[in-house]
């Protein structure tokens, strides 16, 4: 007998056709918004003068999404197999509104805004990406987290039949991919839930239908294709920390002063690089977002809480 399994909900109940249409509208509106903002040439907060947007084919074809394989090209090649519609998100833990929600219902009435962020991978490469997203705070607050909610944990979809990396014999990852944030980090205005990219629907290989984006942390914190949100009073154990606690911590703030056993974090290669110029540049504390987020870590030893 299966214990604690949630009742099977027919697809028709999870997503009505109107909601489905709303989802398309939502993306359309967002695209209009991005067009408008680029016409105005609106300045983006925190962008450096030499931050050039990385070409779209690189952002969508050079990815770390181990659910689809460990090569950078694997997600682009394999992610089309993932079904993202319907998409159900389970909300649990220290909140008043918990249960299964259709993705469309969660984002209903919200408009995605364009955010151009630097993206810094722990492997010492970086990009500049025009995300479309909704402030995470706005999304989380609708579930009315209680006073006990000190952290929020996110989980990626597990579906080995559509995600070949999850059935790989040679992977040591214990799926689902899990990440987490402290509530004050999640409520920081920089934290967003991404639903679009380059003014279009978020491609599967970039974490469709929605993924986290916390630009002052290494890329692995920004968990993709989220199906579970859990509010908790304990620090969640994120996947990479679980695999190798000496190398990956919970916070994973971009920090040139804290070296990683495999990669120097003092500098990064801005992609695309060419064969004869790696486009190397110094890495900035908090990936250049210190002004917005450094106060969250006041009094903390960042060498210890890496």
């Amino acid at each position: 007998m299966l214990i604690g399994k949630s009742p099977k909900i027919p697809t028709s109940e999870i997503i009505s056709e109107t909601n489905y249409l709303n989802r398309r509208n939502f993306i359309g509106q967002s695209a209009a918004l991005i067009a408008g903002s680029s016409l105005l040439g609106s300045a983006q907060a925190g962008l450096q003068p030499d931050d050039e947007i990385t070409p779209e084919d690189i952002v969508t074809q050079f990815n770390n999404f181990y659910e689809f394989g460990t090569d950078k090209s694997d997600p682009f090649e394999n992610a089309h197999k993932m079904t993202t519609d319907p998409w159900t998100v389970n909300v649990s833990g220290e909140a008043k509104k918990t249960g299964d929600f259709a993705f469309e219902d969660i984002i209903k009435g919200m408009t995605a805004e364009e955010r151009i962020y630097r993206f810094r991978c722990v492997e010492a490469w970086s990009m500049v990406v025009p995300w479309m997203g909704i402030p995470l705070k706005k999304i989380l607050q609708q579930f009315e987290p209680t006073g006990n909610a000190k952290y929020v944990e996110f989980k990626t979809l597990v579906r080995p039949e559509e995600m070949p990396g999850q059935s790989s014999f040679f992977s040591s990852i214990d799926w689902p991919y899990t990440e987490g944030l402290r509530m004050d980090e999640a409520y920081n205005p920089l934290s967003i839930m991404v639903t679009g990219l380059f003014g279009k629907e978020l491609p599967n290989q970039n974490g469709a239908p929605w993924r986290l984006m916390v630009p002052w942390k290494y890329g692995f914190k920004s968990v993709k294709s989220i199906v579970s949100i859990r509010f908790t009073d304990k620090e969640p154990l994120n996947t990479w920390q679980q695999l190798q606690a000496s190398e990956y911590g919970f916070y994973a703030n971009v920090n040139p002063a804290v070296s990683h056993p495999r990669w120097s974090q003092a500098s990064e290669r801005r992609l695309p690089s060419t064969l004869f110029n790696t486009n190397r540049r110094p890495t900035l504390p908090f990936n250049g977002y210190a002004e917005e987020v450094a106060h969250l870590y006041q009094g903390m030893d960042l060498k210890k809480f890496f």
Binding site: F62, W125, F169, F170, S171, R262, S264, R269, P272
Partner: protein, 207 residues
């Protein structure tokens, strides 16, 4: 003066096969130079580095396989190719190291030193390189004669070089250990065969 032996067809075929990955790489580099990111991807220096690294590992294991293959197939001609295959492996390693130093860290002394000291996988890789360097330098007939019995002793360093190269790869990789598992199994089989030969010859000696 040793008699000049004709170069065997086998040796030519092996040289051809061992150069094939370099031919393919040249093609990728031409693509890359003609149009950036087309041949080696958005991170071409790293693409090149990993390509040469992977083939260094394979060639190293191939060279290490020559002696047992000769025994299994009773094909003494093979041993004439052993030095060549070893030098091929060394060439891939040299190219790998050159790409790292020139294209990847772009001759930054600070990054180089930091890497050698702080990154254990680089330390292991450098260790393997120096072992191979000693073997390559002394691979000539002249050195072989001069070193006598010590030549064999020195070339036992291969038993250190291969595990160091494997460690280099294992410590670098985050996840996805498929190819590494294959290399380890390959190496284990070769070690097993050598262990078996040693036991056999000891038994023969005591009888």
């Amino acid at each position: 003066m040793a008699q000049k032996r004709p170069i065997s067809v086998l040796k030519i075929a092996l040289a051809f096969l061992a150069s094939a990955p370099l031919a393919w790489l040249s093609y990728l580099i031409v693509l890359e130079v003609a149009q950036p990111t087309s041949g080696l991807g958005p991170d071409p220096a790293e693409g090149l580095l990993h390509y040469l690294g992977e083939w260094s590992m394979i060639m190293l294991l191939v060279a290490f396989s020559v002696t047992p293959l000769r025994r299994i197939f009773k094909q003494p001609l093979l041993v004439r190719s052993r030095r060549m295959m070893g030098l091929f492996a060394f060439s891939y390693v040299v190219l790998h190291l050159l790409v790292y130093v020139v294209l990847y860290v772009e001759l930054s002394m600070q990054l180089l030193l930091e890497g050698f000291v702080e990154r254990t996988y680089i330390t292991a890789g450098i260790g393997a390189f120096f072992g191979l360097l000693a073997m390559a330098v002394t691979s000539t007939k002249g050195w072989r004669r001069r070193l006598g019995q010590n030549w064999l002793r020195l070339h036992k360093v291969i038993y250190l070089v291969v595990p160091l190269a494997l460690l280099h790869l294992i410590w670098l990789r985050k996840d996805g250990f498929g190819d590494i598992a294959l290399y380890i199994i390959w190496f284990a089989i070769l070690l097993g065969e050598r262990g078996y030969q040693v036991r056999k010859s000891r038994k023969a000696a005591t009888v």
